[in-house]
């Protein structure tokens, strides 16, 4: 729309946007500020938007009540392994489905499409039983293997294939002239071009693993092995009531690092997601 909006309309739109932004911004703000408030002030009204006195006692108790540093490490390393693994598995498969002609391609790609239709919640009972029968319950293996190879990576493979299909064919012809094999073509030519798609897949995969909740509570039972989402819900008092100040401190520590990375790299984040295979 080329004409500039009249002033009144602009003010109205800004007003509406600001009003709508409240539920998006306020919870995070309140989470962080409340985590520094003494517990008596948390439910005070009217709420102070900035804590009047800084209290770090809730942060200390997070680490006293649970092996929180260990749990943090668990979540971080699982998410990192799953992200790298998914990138490898899905870019290889996506490339082959998009650019290589081989017998059985259609039938095998159908398997991928079927995988897209099956939410992982549907298979949680048999997965539990399968991992149980090989003694992998209460280990991190299910949280690594299933996302890297199962339904989530199938989605990633689909996205990568949609991306590789759009690359011009001359690139591979040039690679062939240079005598590059398939693997070298993939590694040196296709993969560098796929950076936006790889970025989007990496972000999605990381967030998916970082947020996983059903799987950890089904597969893990030892606090030292818990992941963050699971740990966050364990800060309860003797009556099972939540210890709000401690929960909010732990939640802040879980949310803030990712949020900071996002704010710094928001353009790549958002545009990467909007302009890759997700557009369909």
């Amino acid at each position: 729309m080329n004409n500039r909006l009249p002033l009144r309309a602009r003010v109205a739109i800004y007003g509406l946007i600001c009003l709508l932004a409240i539920p998006f911004v306020f919870p995070t703000w309140w989470m962080v500020t409340s985590s520094f408030k003494p517990v008596s002030d948390i439910f005070a009204f009217p709420p102070s938007l900035i804590p009047t006195e800084l209290s770090f006692s809730a942060y200390r108790r997070v680490f006293e009540l649970q092996p929180f540093a260990q749990q943090y490490l668990n979540s971080a390393y699982i998410a990192a392994v799953v992200t790298v693994g998914t990138l490898a598995v899905s870019s290889l498969a996506g490339y082959a489905f998009a650019r290589i002609r081989f017998r059985g391609q259609h039938a095998l790609f159908l398997v991928v499409l079927v995988g897209l239709l099956i939410p992982s919640e549907v298979t949680i009972v048999p997965l539990f039983q399968m991992f149980n029968s090989v003694g992998m319950i209460d280990t991190h293996w299910p949280l690594i293997l299933v996302p890297t190879l199962g339904a989530p990576s199938v989605l990633a493979t689909f996205i990568m294939r949609q991306f590789f299909i759009t690359l011009p064919g001359e690139l591979e012809e040039a690679a062939r002239v240079d005598g590059l094999g398939r693997l070298a073509t993939f590694w040196r030519i296709a993969l560098p071009l796929a950076r936006p798609a790889l970025g989007a897949v990496a972000i999605f995969t990381f967030l998916h693993s970082w947020n996983l909740y059903l799987e950890p509570i089904v597969f893990l039972s030892t606090p030292e092995k818990f992941t963050l989402p699971q740990a966050l819900t364990q800060f309860v008092d003797a009556y099972g009531g939540p210890m709000w100040d401690v929960q909010l401190s732990a939640a802040s520590m879980t949310a803030l690092p990712v949020l900071v990375v996002f704010v710094i790299a928001q353009r790549q984040f958002i545009e990467g997601l909007a302009h890759t295979g997700l557009k369909g």
């Binding site: 909006l5 989470m31 095998l108 997965l127 990576s153 012809e173 062939r176 929960q247 909010l248 997700l278």
Partner: protein, 321 residues
């Protein structure tokens, strides 16, 4: 030689040149076609083995389990045929669960898509600062799900922030998580605010692809902004509307953590959606057989909805391709 169509093989691959040119060396049996056959299979092997082991095999197993009476604690595993499916029909809790699932999913999808479209249209105006607001609206997507839910649980307490704000403007807010309808509404709002940024971004990209000349022409014809929106914007972004609605519907049926943290399915079964009920039966009541039957039901619902939506695309998605 397999007959391949372009949409799967990619439009790129030229056939290997016949004969021993430098571009495609033919070393007897080891032709570049054979090499491609091997490379293709090797490249897809990890994904296919994974999909077979962690998607297809469990899907088969869940159907098999659903034909068994299987209590993990009592260690019983007996073939009972379709008994579990009969139990499904007679389960007094199931109508409530399905009603909650329906209300939750429909509410979530409608609210999510409407808000996403509204935000995208607002941010697509030529105004300063829209990038900042885009970042703000998107930011909950990257906040840890359970952390986000815990904060909202805190805000929705009877004496929490939401009622504090309501009280400040003279309203007496309910105890949100304790009332049947308010609990359902709360879970929907928490989930929509968390994830609407994704759909907003997809809509924004689609809106930016609508040619400005169309609006220009419509204005010359004297069309109002609302008419422009209905007659130009909506048809042109309909492929994105279809895509986002499929993603959102399937996503709505998978919501678990928010409910487990905020309401544990209550009060009553007002927020017990199918996934949560499945979890309760299998992992709290140790009924793996009946839990599997519920899994099969969930799968059939997801499958049906996806197929129906995909079929509907011809009807209302403007200019396929």
């Amino acid at each position: 030689m397999p007959v391949l169509t372009d949409n799967v093989a990619g439009r790129a691959e030229p056939r290997p040149a016949p004969g021993g040119t430098a571009a495609s060396p033919r070393r007897g049996w080891w032709t570049s076609r054979r090499r491609d056959q091997l490379a293709g299979l090797l490249f897809v092997t990890p994904q296919l083995v994974g999909a077979a082991l962690f998607v297809l095999l469990p899907l088969g197993l869940v159907v098999w389990y659903s034909l068994h009476e299987w209590n993990v604690l009592a260690d019983t595993f007996d073939f009972v045929g379709t008994d579990n499916y009969r139990e499904l029909v007679d389960d007094p809790k199931l109508p409530g669960v399905l009603r909650s699932t329906l209300f939750f999913s429909v509410g979530l999808v409608v609210f999510n898509l409407a808000l996403a479209l509204l935000l995208a249209v607002l941010l697509n105006q030529r105004l300063r600062g829209t990038v900042v607001f885009r970042t703000l609206f998107f930011s909950p997507v990257v906040v840890s799900l359970v952390a986000w839910t815990i904060v909202w649980g805190f805000l929705l307490q009877d004496n929490g922030g939401v009622n504090g704000v309501a009280g400040a403007v003279g309203l007496d807010g309910p105890n949100w998580l304790r009332g049947e309808w308010t609990a359902l509404l709360s879970v929907i709002v928490v989930q929509v605010v968390k994830n609407v940024g994704l759909n907003m971004v997809l809509f924004l990209a689609a809106l930016q692809g609508v040619p400005a000349e169309l609006y220009e022409a419509a204005r010359v014809e004297g069309a109002s902004r609302w008419t422009q929106f209905r007659r130009i914007t909506v048809p042109l972004i309909s492929p994105t509307i279809l895509l986002t609605s499929i993603i959102t519907v399937v996503g709505a049926l998978q919501v678990f953590a928010q409910i487990a943290v905020l309401t544990q399915g209550g009060p009553g079964t007002s927020t017990t959606v199918l996934v949560y009920y499945l979890y309760q039966q299998a992992f709290q009541f140790h009924q793996f057989g009946y839990g599997s039957t519920l899994s099969v039901l969930l799968f059939l619902i997801v499958l049906t909805l996806t197929v129906v939506q995909w079929r509907m695309r011809r009807k209302w998605v403007f200019h396929e391709q």
